[in-house]
């Protein structure tokens, strides 16, 4: 293992290289571009023995990735924002075909207006598509998540594609020290490509013929079951990875100062780092606060969330995306999934913020958390929904 200073995007590219991907098909888009540039460089320099398909669009990027994966290659792609929306048809197609594929999503606000700064709108737009959806907090975790994505995707209990989210610029273009695993250890741990079926001419096989409603529904029910299985696999892989490479994150959720916390914050992505700062600051001032950071949005960690919030006096869910006309998607999922385990939910608030790339710092978080706690402690009821905006 060796420490390298890497941007989030280069961490993704390096993870794909460590996984020895066979085929990459990608189309440039800000802020994803440096991933495909780096992979092209690896391939042209002969450092990575892979085929690069420089497609004419994102729709074709995922279509070609799918074709390669189907034909037995370990295949990878990456995109952002409008590129992701343009390939959305294929996002569904890949998971419904049960083909293991890994894709990095370097998040960026959806237009119009044109905006290159990150929120989670593009990532959240894929939530019903049958992919395992993970999201990192720093570049180390991005490398680890990307590498683990191959292992999870190719697990026979799962056989579903995996996307890894990271904010553009905040992580994508910011350099941090990253502990890079040893190639030999990665090879031993990851092993050769595994998939449910291969279409490579070795035997006649048909995929995707018209299926009657009952058959179709059963295919989709199986995806739902595999999502449940994936929860176990994700935890196993996290533990195993920790044993071999020295970093374990807690599985579907990272718990930060939660054990004695009376107020639980829930978030996802890079701003969780700022949230941790805020929590440390508040702890220093006697506030019993903790953070449950969502690492996997699909499958949704319903049981884990329930267990961490059930004793809490109050919960705030921070969303960096908005479902217009409703609320933040993380909040909606959290509330709905908690109902599987209890009918009683603590005082809960959804704060939507950082939309369009508006910068949110630990001082914002500190203020928001203090307001929330003071309302509850004085016997009041904080508003369930709040769109926090500042200039």
């Amino acid at each position: 293992m060796a420490i390298q200073v890497l941007t989030g995007n280069y961490s993704v590219a390096l993870a794909a290289k460590l996984a020895r991907v066979d085929v990459v098909a990608a189309y440039p888009i800000t802020p994803q571009t440096s991933i495909v540039e780096k992979l092209s460089e690896y391939i042209e320099k002969g450092e990575l023995d892979a085929k690069m398909i420089r497609v004419e669009s994102e729709h074709s990027a995922l279509a070609a990735t799918f074709g390669a994966a189907l034909a037995g290659a370990r295949a990878f792609t990456a995109t952002s924002s409008h590129g992701l929306l343009y390939m959305h048809e294929w996002v569904h197609w890949v998971s419904r075909a049960r083909v293991p594929v890994v894709m990095a999503i370097v998040t960026r606000t959806i237009g119009t207006p044109w905006n290159i700064w990150p929120d989670h709108g593009d990532f959240m737009d894929q939530r019903d598509a049958g992919w395992i959806m993970s999201f990192g907090m720093d570049n180390q975790e991005i490398l680890d998540l990307t590498l683990q994505a191959f292992k999870i995707s190719e697990d026979p209990r799962v056989y579903l594609p995996v996307m890894v989210g990271l904010e553009g610029f905040i992580l994508g273009h910011t350099s941090m020290p990253v502990d890079v695993p040893d190639q030999k250890l990665v090879d031993e741990w990851l092993g050769p490509r595994r998939q449910g079926y291969v279409i490579d001419g070795s035997e006649p096989l048909a995929l995707g013929n018209l299926a009657w409603p009952e058959d179709t529904e059963e295919f989709f029910m199986d995806i739902q079951e595999s999502m449940e299985e994936a929860k176990k696999v994700i935890k196993e892989v996290d533990k195993e990875y920790g044993r071999i490479f020295g970093r374990e994150y807690g599985g579907l959720i990272e718990y930060y100062r939660c054990s004695d916390a009376k107020y639980i914050m829930v978030s996802m992505g890079a701003w969780s780092g700022d949230l941790k700062e805020a929590i440390n600051l508040l702890r220093d001032n006697g506030y019993p606060v903790g953070l449950a950071r969502i690492r996997y949005f699909r499958p949704f960690p319903d049981k884990e969330i329930y267990e961490v919030i059930r004793g809490a006096k109050g919960v705030i869910v921070f969303d960096r995306a908005i479902s217009f006309g409703s609320m933040g998607p993380l909040f909606m999922d959290l509330v709905a999934n908690t109902l599987k385990h209890t009918r009683r939910i603590s005082v809960i608030q959804n704060i939507v913020a950082g939309i369009g790339g508006v910068n949110i710092t630990y001082t914002d978080f500190t203020g928001l958390i203090k307001d929330f706690i003071s309302i509850i402690e004085s016997g009041g009821e904080p508003p369930v929904f709040k769109w926090y905006h500042r200039r």
Binding site: V55, F66, G67, A71, G72, A75, G201, N209
Partner: protein, 296 residues
Amino acid sequence: MVEPLHIRMRNTIMSGDAACPGCPIPLGLKVVGAVFGNKVILVIPACCTSVVMGAWPGNGFNGSVIHVAFASAAAVASGIAEALEKRGIRDTQVIAWAGDGGTADIGMASLSGAAERNENFIYIMYDNEAYMNTGIQRSSSTPYGAWTTTTPVIGKREHKKDVARIMIAHGVPYVATASIAYPHDFEAKLRRAAKIRGFKFIHLHAPCPVGWRFDPGLTIKVAKLAVETGMWILYEYYEGRLRLSGPSRPYIDESKRKLIIEYLKLQGRFRRITDKEVLEIETYVKQAWDWVKKHM
């Protein structure tokens, strides 16, 4: 000794395929099967063949079939071809098999991309000259004057998009036109294409009795008339030169061609065509031949 084509065409399309009576699709696919056996992967976007292949768990073709999203046949075929190459698999032919909508219209960008990258597979556009699977709506490949359900009163005002010529302009190593009425010619073209590395495009004329409004017993007759009237010209283009194919050779001489009206009058879609419109089609055909002669 190689068996005759009609013998080898047997058992390539399974009984119980879901084609309409007189459908040209199984005819074309039988030739593909005769050439490649089951060492073939067909990539099929949304089109009539999506239905013709039959319902899961059945499969109408004795080979591998991958049904894909509408705009993506060339992109998926690219991915498969690259993966097979990476894995050192050389005995399997990748073929994108797409209709005129999935090729000339919604699939044009991915087709152009794969052609420009010179991906190693054969793209076959079977051209029934409208969106037949959704019920006979016009495509850019529908000929001038034809009735469709989206040109229901006046008929199409624009001429057919010439996709083979667009592919030639891409500089790919092999482009050909073919017709389901001439299976031996189609076979020879598939064989030549299979030997060439890189992107190969075959534009297969495929008359549709349902959409063109003719008797299902006349599919071959209509397809032949397209060639005999000079409406559809069979050729190959490789190594920088166009070669007129056998069935079309006599018709370089205009006097040998049958009258275009003979082709049109068999088809209900041209029922309301005027003399002026026939003249317009004749001018279009003349220009097509002028272009062919110039590039021979």
